[in-house]
Symmetry: C2
Subunit: 469 residues, 2 copies
Amino acid sequence: MKKEDKVLIIGAGLCGSLLALRMAQRGYKVEVYESRPDLRKVDISAGRSINLALSDRGLKALRLCGMEEKAREICIPMYGRLMHDTQGNTFASNYSGREGEYINSISRGDLNAILLDEAEKHKNVTIHFNSGCKKVDIENKVAHFKSYDTAEKFKVKADVIFGTDGAGSSLRKSYVSERKFLFSYSQNYLNHGYKELEIPADKNGNHQISKGHLHIWPRGDFMLIALPNMDGSFTVTLFLSYDEGEYNFNNLISEEKITAFFKKEFPDALALIPNIKEEFVNNPTGPLGTIKCSPWFYQNKTLLMGDSAHAIVPFYGQGMNASFEDVFVFDEILNQNLGDWNAVFKAYQKARKHDTDAIADLAIDNFYEMRDHVANPLFKEKRKIEMDLEKHFPNQYSSKYSLVTFNENIGYNEAMQRGRAQDKALLNLIADDKVHTNLEMTKNELAVILKKVEQQTKEILKEDKIAGL
Amino acid sequence: MKKEDKVLIIGAGLCGSLLALRMAQRGYKVEVYESRPDLRKVDISAGRSINLALSDRGLKALRLCGMEEKAREICIPMYGRLMHDTQGNTFASNYSGREGEYINSISRGDLNAILLDEAEKHKNVTIHFNSGCKKVDIENKVAHFKSYDTAEKFKVKADVIFGTDGAGSSLRKSYVSERKFLFSYSQNYLNHGYKELEIPADKNGNHQISKGHLHIWPRGDFMLIALPNMDGSFTVTLFLSYDEGEYNFNNLISEEKITAFFKKEFPDALALIPNIKEEFVNNPTGPLGTIKCSPWFYQNKTLLMGDSAHAIVPFYGQGMNASFEDVFVFDEILNQNLGDWNAVFKAYQKARKHDTDAIADLAIDNFYEMRDHVANPLFKEKRKIEMDLEKHFPNQYSSKYSLVTFNENIGYNEAMQRGRAQDKALLNLIADDKVHTNLEMTKNELAVILKKVEQQTKEILKEDKIAGL
């Protein structure tokens, strides 16, 4: 492991470009190969989510690389969810009761572009596009590519290879096919898929609905969401079962049925999506999968990072944030000067895996919570109390959502453990009528609730520990 | 779906041969293809566990097929664990406080043989050996085989195809490679592997240690177990990490080190294993993996059963029992006369998957329990109380182990939910000093404990339900 080591990064998406930048800043000789064309020159957004939620964990990693301010320039703050019912009525639910805690809608392409620009400013970085990785000879650290410009095949040898090539990772597939070690691996799909649609800007280029919110049309078995773009449009995503329920992706094939579905379930959204039929028919339906695997690395030779190591479903808005945080954690491990790549990879996986496993599980939890619980009175009351607690006791109480989203200094796993115990405590206190709420609670009344929640949370964590859970 | 349907079964192991028998009894035309030679003619045990634990769920399925009595003739009852410490001291721990609840050591080969014999008695069954399945064209229901006798390739078309071809299932691999549907799949390996050794019979053909027990040498990070065979020998299995700890499979490569390891950790076992060096070096080291997947079926064409659908680690002694129970549950679904194979497969997976997921998780739990908790005073006290409760309140109390092993009329998932809540209740009552135990408790004292455990278990299940867990 030397400063002059040649680092090969497969994939110049969000994780790969941030990793390239950071490794360049640390002085390594970095070569990046990306299968798609340069997104700064060609529009290649088809089929991928066009905007994403950037929050504190992602910002922490961008800050490390000096990119926070540039990213913030293209961010649209979203302060909470705005729920739409079938009558078109809306009600808002803030992400936090504290001031200054919000998430950001950001264009995947624009963010990727500023990271590529910044990485390319370093003369120890080269980025090659249209170069698809076909396989990796992990023993000899040789990656096999095909140029989509010339159709030629070529090989690249490096001192160390990083696979940031996303959920369909070629490096990860080589782990499976080369059979050099026992590789634990899982891919789990939800029964739901997703499809993107668009609410365009109005004639003046302005947003047609509140741009300060993430919009949700929750309908139990399915749901529509919308995130704002800088150009005044919204990217809308429909989450729907492939084959269950009255309406599903398999049976929504006629224009009549598609319109009938939206008219019945999302009339206010339908009014804002002029090209619904074309978009529904032409835009691809994407699967929603979770990928976990282990080990992420092979000896001192290769490492998976980002989605290639841990793809998650989008329901916590943490996919990009988790991948960026990978780079932050990896950088912390590099600071330990462990001396060889194998030790670095081992320490990195040990520090990181329990957290990426946790956010994968949290994201699945949130799928069910958004689908099933949003309209549940118990959950609604819990949410109201939590907002009040966060507002009046900003330094003492953080909801599970806040722990995950706004507390970048604790890991996802700790956020999950504490957050779940706290949710359980609060829900049971409400169900058992042990906390009583009213519309305008005084700080003293809230202090009593806070104490009960803290006590009960502690008890739950203790009991789980004794049971060995 | 007709009585005359030609049913192709890939794999004539334990699950495949029981399924063939049952489908033959129901009148289907059954063809079975097995990659290995006929184990009734050739010894092919190498590398596979030679004996297994047969318990009530497996017996229930054997009973359905009229095979219980024949199986019992080759069973050796094991009434509990006999723990061996490094000094050679032993202490027994019964599997149940009730009379007549025990598990059975049985030879995999002998059991498979009587099932094959019985299946072949039906003229609507043919079994072909040395026929390795290479892939399955699931759309056209055509399985591709290679004969290991003639090296010829051949195809078999059927009305419906069952894959009972084990953890490395060829049918399951075809689900992955044919990409006809979103296939959720996981393979998870423990860091431990296993190796089989032998304690031979004494000169008179008798067992050298108690044959009424499953012997365990628990050592925290690793463990040795032994199950009795009918010929007076024991099959011994070492569970050990591949690469962690002072001693592991990767570093136990010299005869000196192997002997030193056994001398230090298992001196009483070492004295009974005369060929330790040869066996350790020559016998393969096997991995310990869990496989889950979904869906198990493709349309009305193919279905995975047994290990091919849900391979589990051996620490609950339920692998074979779960596979046999598959056949029992499938038979119950057939009794519903659903009319077509697709409806049957769907109903079968819906009825069965949560239970096979549960036993997979329970088996992993038990790996950690056997490794880490066997020597924990809290767990020891729990176990003692549970034995007393089962003895004095045989109809009111069943431990998690009993629920899983001896209560074949409730599913694994329910056994897991109830068993885990009960364990948590009891461990916390002991830790909080809310139940007090002494060596000889009266029935009245135990009744008080039982009531507390029941109450606390109910409370735990209620709280989990409110929290949406």
